[in-house]
Symmetry: C2
C-alpha cells in the first residue's frame, strides 16, 4: 500500500522514513534562495534558521558548504540559540561561488542520554534503558569505520553489561561526541534549497574611485588629451590615494547627430561629441577613439596605472551611434520605424537622435547577447576587470543575469558597477541578479534625517546581503544643488560623508576636487561647459583644491579597517540637527567616529549622545578622540561630549577613539 492521493507541501516522501525535522526561515536567504548573497574573501557567513521536530526529542543540525566548483561539502555543527533558532557559520576564502545548505535530524542517542540522566537522578532501575542505549551505540558503530567503529562496539558492550560502569560511560561526554560523529543521516531533513554566496575579490567591498575624462588630460589647453596624458596624470591621482580609475567610454564617437558644447543640437567642427555616442567609422565597442591613442596605448595605461596602485575601470554603455558598425552589419539588432528609419532613443517628447538603443527583443537576440559578451571578454583580455555599466535598468534583467553570471564563472574577479538611477525596486533587482556594486541615491540625501534613514536601510536590513553601495559625490550628470549652493565646505562635508559612510565611494574629478559648481542653468544638476561635450582644462594646482583633504581621507581609509566595511555603521545622537554623528568599528578594536556639520554656511555646535556599548567604550571612563582629519586631540568621557565645527575650516571630525588613553 502506498501513501496515496496527495503530496503534502512539506514533502512526504515515499521513503522508508519520513524525516521529522523542519528547517525554515533561513537567514541569509535572498528571495527564497533565488539570488546569491555577496561576500569577499575572509568574511564569515553567519547562517541562522528555525530548526525543530515534533515532540520533545533532542535534535542536531549541521551547516554544509562548498565551493560551487568543488565536489565535497564541508560540514559544520549548528548551535541552538533558544526558541528553536539555530546558528552556524563558515568563512569564504576565495572569489567564486559557494553553496550552503542545512540539515537537521533527531538525535536518538542524545535524547536517550538526556532521559537516562533524569532516570538515574530519580534512582529508577535503568537496566532496560541501558539495553536500548547499547542498541543505539551499536547502530552508530555500524555507521562508523576503523578504530571508531571498534570503540563504539566496545562501548555498546559496556552498556549492555549494565551497572554503574555502564551508566558512567553512557553519560560521558566522550561517548556523546563519538556517537555524534556518526549520525543517522538517512533520517536527516535537508533544506529544500542550496543557497549561494557570490564571493567577490576584496576590491568589491572597499575602494575609492576616481572618474576622469581622458580628453581633458592634456597639459596644455585646447589639445585633445590622450592615454599618454592620462598616464602622466597617474601620480597625481595616486597621490590622493585612489584605488580605481574609471574612464568614460573610450571608443570612436559618432559624426552624425553629434552634440555640441552644452548639449547643443549641432556640433561645431572641433566639438569632440559625447563619448556615450559610441561608434564611428573607426569602429565600435571594441575600438579605441583615435584621438585618445591606440589599443596598445590603452594597454600601456592599464599597466602603468597598476604600478601606481590604480586599477582602470571602463564604461559599458550598450548603445550605438548612427555611425556604429553594428548599424550596418546587424540592422536586425535595432528597432525599425514604419518609415524604414531606425528607432532612436527617446524620452518623449525629447528625442536622442544620436543614440540607437539595441532591440533586446529582436528575433536574433541570442546573437546580440553573445556579441555584447564578446565586448566584455575583449576588454577583460586587455586587462580591464572592473566595468561601470551605463543605465543597466534600460536593458532586460535576464540579459544582465546571464552576462554577469557567465562572465564571473570564467573570471570571478570581474566587478560590475550598476549605474542605475531609477526606482528602488529596480535598483535592488539589478543588485540581486548580479551587479557587484551599485550607484545609490546618496547625492540626493543631504539632511541628517535623509542620511540616517537611507544608510540604515542600506547597512542594517537584508538589503545589505546583495546591494553594495558605491557612493559618488558627483558624476558628469549630477552636480547637486547642495554643492552648487554650499561651495567648498559643502564639497568637503560630502566627500567626508562618502568616504566614511561608504566603504566604496567615488568622485568625478578634477571637477570635484576643484569644487566646480556652475550649473548649466539655475535649478539644473547639469554642469556648465560639461566635459561630456567639450574638452576642459583644469588647473590642478589651485590653492583651494581639495587634493590634500582627499589624500588625508583616503589615507585614513587605508589605515583604519573600520572603514573597509559598511555593516558596522551606527548612528549616534547629537543634539543639533545640522550635525550628524556615526561610527564604524573594525577588527582589533578599531573605532572611527565621524561628526559632520551639514550646514556649509554656519558654525554648528552640539553635544553627542554616544551609544558607548556600540563603540566598545566603558560607561564612565576617559578616552582619547584623535581627529585624523584635522589633527585635534580631545579628551572625552561618557556619551556626552561637546563638538563645534566651523565650515570655514574643516566641517568634520574623523575621530579615532582610543579607550583608556589621555588625549
Amino acid at each position: 500500500m502506498g501513501i496515496p492521493d496527495i503530496a503534502p507541501a512539506g514533502g512526504v516522501a515515499a521513503a522508508r522514513v519520513v524525516p521529522r525535522v523542519v528547517i525554515e526561515h533561513v537567514s541569509p536567504e535572498v528571495d527564497g534562495g533565488l539570488f546569491a548573497i555577496k561576500r569577499v574573501p575572509g568574511e564569515t557567513v553567519v547562517v541562522e534558521a528555525d530548526i525543530f521536530a515534533d515532540g520533545h526529542d533532542v535534535i542536531a543540525a549541521a551547516l554544509d558548504y562548498r565551493r560551487e566548483d568543488a565536489g565535497e561539502w564541508t560540514t559544520t555543527a549548528m548551535m541552538p540559540l533558544g526558541n528553536d533558532r539555530w546558528r552556524g557559520e563558515f568563512v569564504v576564502d576565495s572569489p567564486g561561488r559557494y553553496r550552503y545548505t542545512l540539515r537537521g535530524w533527531v538525535d536518538d542517542f542524545a535524547t536517550w542520554a538526556r532521559d537516562l540522566r533524569l532516570r538515574v537522578e530519580a534512582e529508577q532501575d535503568v537496566t532496560v534503558d541501558l539495553g536500548i542505549g547499547a542498541g543505539l551505540v551499536r547502530a552508530a558503530a555500524r555507521r562508523a569505520h576503523g578504530n571508531e567503529a571498534a570503540a563504539l562496539a566496545r562501548d555498546a558492550a559496556v552498556l549492555e553489561r549494565g551497572g554503574d560502569a555502564a551508566i558512567r560511560r553512557a553519560l560521558s561526554e566522550d561517548l556523546a561526541a563519538l556517537v555524534a560523529r556518526h549520525p543517522d543521516r538517512e533520517r536527516a531533513s535537508r533544506y529544500a534549497r542550496d543557497l549561494v554566496v557570490q564571493v567577490d575579490r576584496a576590491r568589491a567591498r572597499f575602494g575609492a574611485w576616481y572618474e576622469l575624462f581622458p580628453r581633458s588630460c592634456a597639459p596644455e589647453p585646447g589639445r585633445h588629451g590622450t592615454f599618454a596624458d592620462v598616464e602622466a596624470r597617474l601620480p597625481y591621482i595616486a597621490s590622493m590615494g585612489f584605488d580605481v580609475l574609471y574612464l568614460p567610454p573610450i571608443h570612436p564617437i559618432a559624426r552624425r547627430f553629434r552634440k555640441g558644447r552644452n548639449n547643443s543640437e549641432t556640433a561645431g567642427p572641433d566639438d569632440p561629441g559625447s563619448p556615450w555616442a559610441i561608434g564611428g567609422p573607426e569602429g565600435g565597442h571594441t575600438a579605441v577613439h583615435p584621438q585618445l591613442g591606440t589599443l596598445a596605448d590603452f594597454e600601456r595605461l592599464v599597466g602603468a596605472a597598476r604600478r601606481h596602485g590604480l586599477e582602470v575601470a571602463l564604461d559599458l554603455a550598450f548603445q550605438c551611434s548612427p555611425d556604429h558598425p553594428y548599424v550596418r552589419e546587424h540592422p536586425e539588432w535595432f528597432r525599425r520605424r514604419p518609415d524604414g528609419t531606425i528607432q532612436y532613443a527617446e524620452n518623449p517628447p525629447k528625442k536622442y537622435q544620436d543614440i540607437y538603443p539595441f532591440d533586446f527583443d529582436t528575433a536574433d537576440w541570442r546573437a546580440l547577447w553573445e556579441e555584447l559578451r564578446r565586448v566584455v571578454r575583449f576588454w577583460i583580455g586587455r586587462g580591464v576587470h572592473i566595468f561601470r555599466v551605463d543605465n543597466p535598468h534600460t536593458k532586460p534583467f535576464a540579459f544582465w543575469e546571464w552576462l554577469i553570471g557567465t562572465t564571473q564563472r570564467e573570471h570571478p574577479d570581474v566587478v560590475f558597477l550598476a549605474e542605475a538611477f531609477t526606482r528602488p525596486k529596480v535598483m535592488y533587482r539589478l543588485a540581486k541578479l548580479g551587479f557587484t556594486q551599485s550607484y545609490t541615491y546618496f547625492t540626493w540625501r543631504n539632511t541628517r534625517a535623509e542620511l540616517e534613514a537611507y544608510f540604515a536601510e542600506l547597512t542594517q536590513t537584508p538589503v545589505r546581503e546583495y546591494f553594495r553601495p558605491n557612493l559618488f559625490v558627483n558624476t558628469p550628470d549630477i552636480l547637486h544643488a547642495y554643492l552648487q549652493d554650499g561651495g567648498r565646505p559643502a564639497f568637503i562635508a560630502r566627500v567626508v560623508l562618502a568616504a566614511t559612510l561608504g566603504a566604496n565611494y567615488g568622485i568625478y574629478g578634477p571637477a570635484f576636487e576643484l569644487c566646480e559648481r556652475r550649473p548649466i542653468a539655475p535649478g539644473s544638476e547639469e554642469y556648465l561647459d560639461s566635459e561630456k561635450y567639450q574638452l576642459r582644462h583644469w588647473d590642478l594646482d589651485r590653492r583651494d583644491s581639495l587634493r590634500d583633504v582627499i589624500a588625508r581621507l583616503n589615507g585614513i581609509r587605508r589605515a583604519h579597517p573600520a572603514l573597509a566595511s559598511d555593516w558596522t555603521l551606527r548612528f549616534h545622537g547629537i543634539d543639533n540637527p545640522e550635525l550628524i554623528c556615526y561610527s564604524k568599528t573594525g577588527p582589533d578594536g578599531d573605532v572611527v567616529l565621524v561628526v559632520v556639520n551639514l550646514d556649509p554656511h554656519h558654525v554648528q555646535r552640539g553635544w553627542t549622545a554616544l551609544d558607548l556599548g556600540a563603540l566598545g567604550l566603558p560607561p564612565d571612563a576617559p578616552y582619547a578622540a584623535h581627529d585624523l582629519l584635522g589633527g585635534g586631540r580631545f579628551g572625552w568621557r561618557g556619551p556626552r561630549n561637546y563638538v563645534e565645527l566651523n565650515p570655514a575650516g574643516l566641517p568634520a571630525h574623523v575621530l579615532h577613539l582610543r579607550p583608556g588613553e589621555a588625549p
Copy 2:
C-alpha cells in the same frame, strides 16, 4: 546559437521572447508558497506584489485565480499603488482549495499612447508614430475574435490614415480598453508559483465551543452519565448560545494501569479511568464506551444537538491503552523495548504506563497512517465534522499534513483544532500544514501588556494568514492561577476577553460557569477531583453561575458581526494598566469597544485614549456607547472618556458605539 553555459536564477528561458516583467514579494504568501493561506466563504483575498520591468515602459498586471478542482482561471486586473507595488483581489465563495497567481507584461500599446500624448502636446509630427500604433492595434486585432477583432481592424485603419481623427481615436479611453482586453500574453511573466487558499466553512472562523464530560451528565449523583443524559443537557448548553459541543474521547477505556481519582496510580473498582487511555476489550478508536451508550445513541445525540444549533466535535487522541485491540492486532505499530515489552509514554522520569504511543517510524507506517485515516472517516460517517486533535505536536508533521489534506479533499467542511501547547514555532507549523484552528497561549496571557503583545502578533502579522486562534478560558488540564486567585470576577473578565478577543473561543464546563477553582495542589494548574479521573455532579442552578453572563456574551457575538472576525482588532490607550481597551469593527459600521478590568479585587478607573480613526468616529462629535453586557448607556465624545469598573459587579463593558446618537 543557443544561450549557453548558465541558467540564471531569474529564468532565461529558451523562448522566443524573454519576459521582461519581474513579480516578487507577493503577499499573502506563507513560506514562499509552501503552505496555504486560510479564508472562509465571502472573504476577500487581497493580493499585493512588487511588479516592474526594466526601462520606462507602461506595464500591466493580472491576478488569476481558480478553484483547485476547476479548470478555468478567472483573471482580474491589478492596480498600481505607487513605488512598483500592485494590488488585486478576489472573493472566495465556497469551501475547498483555491489557487492564485500573478502575471505581468509590458503594455506596448499603453506605452505608445502615453508617449503619443506627450508628442502631441509638444506639437511634434506624429505621422510615423501613428503608423507604429496602427501596427500595435492590428496585432491586438489578430489576438481578438469576432466583433472585437473587426473593431480593432477598423481602428488600425483609422490610425493608419493619420490626421486629427487618428490622434483622437488613438488617445481615446475606448480604444485603450479594447486593446487592453487582448494583451500579448506570449510576453507575460507568470509568477513562479501557484499560491493556495484553503477555504474553510464559516464555522472555522467564528464559533463558541463548550467542552463537557458526558460521564458527569447524569442528573443524579454517582451514576455514570450517558449520551442520553448529554441529550437532556442540550437545551442548557444551547441556551447559553454555544455553537460547538466538544466531547473528550468517547471510546472504551483501559482496565490495565487505569488511573484512579486525582491521577492516583491505582484505580478503585468504581473509578472510570481517563477517557484518553483509549481502548479496551470492547474496542478502540471506532468503538463507543459501553457506559455512555451505543454508537446509535451517539448518532442520535449528534442529530439532537444539530436541532439545538449545536455541532458535536470529537477528540482525536491517537494513542492506545495497553488493552487497545491494536496492541494485539498490530504490535508492529508500537516500539518494543529490549525486554520484549511495549514502550509506554514517558516524560522522564515520569512514566505513563497506561499509554502506548504509536511508532510513526514503524516500517509498517503506511498501514498505520491509513488506519488512522480510517478512524477519521469512520466518525465523519457518523456525522462528526469537527475534530479536536489531542497533542498533535507529538506526532510527525508530515502525518498531519497528509491526514488533513486528504480528508479535506474529500470533505472540505471538516475542521481540525490543534491542541498543541508547545513552542511557538511548532504551533505555527501545525497551523501552516493544515490545522483549521489552534489552541493558544491565551490562558497564560493575563496582564494588559501580555494580551496586547500576543494579540498583536496573532491578528496583525502574517501569522493571521494561517493560524486561527481558538481561545479556551480553561481546559480539563488548565486551571490558571488567575482564576484560582481571582474567583468569579476573574472568570467573568476572562470569558469576556475570550469571547471578544477571539472570534473562536471555548470554555470547559460546567467547571467554568460554576467557577470551579480548587487546584489539586497549591501552585498546580490541575483541577482537584478532576473529571479526567472521576465522575462529577454539577449543580447547574447555582445562583452564582455565569450562565446568564455567558448567554449574554454569546448573544452579543451573534448580533454583532464585528466580533465574527479577528483581523480588525485594535487596542486603544487607557491610562490605567489594570484596564485593557480594544475594539473590533465589522461590516455596515458595526463597532464594538471592550473595556475589561483585569484586577479581580479592586475597582479600577481610567480615561480612554481612543483611536477615533480606527473606530470610524469623527474627531469631536458625541456618540452613544451602549453597554451590551451591563445595559448601561453612556454619552461619549472624542477620544477621552471616563470608565470605572467594579469587579464585584461586572468587570467589563462591551460597548456598541453609535456615532451621532444620544445615549
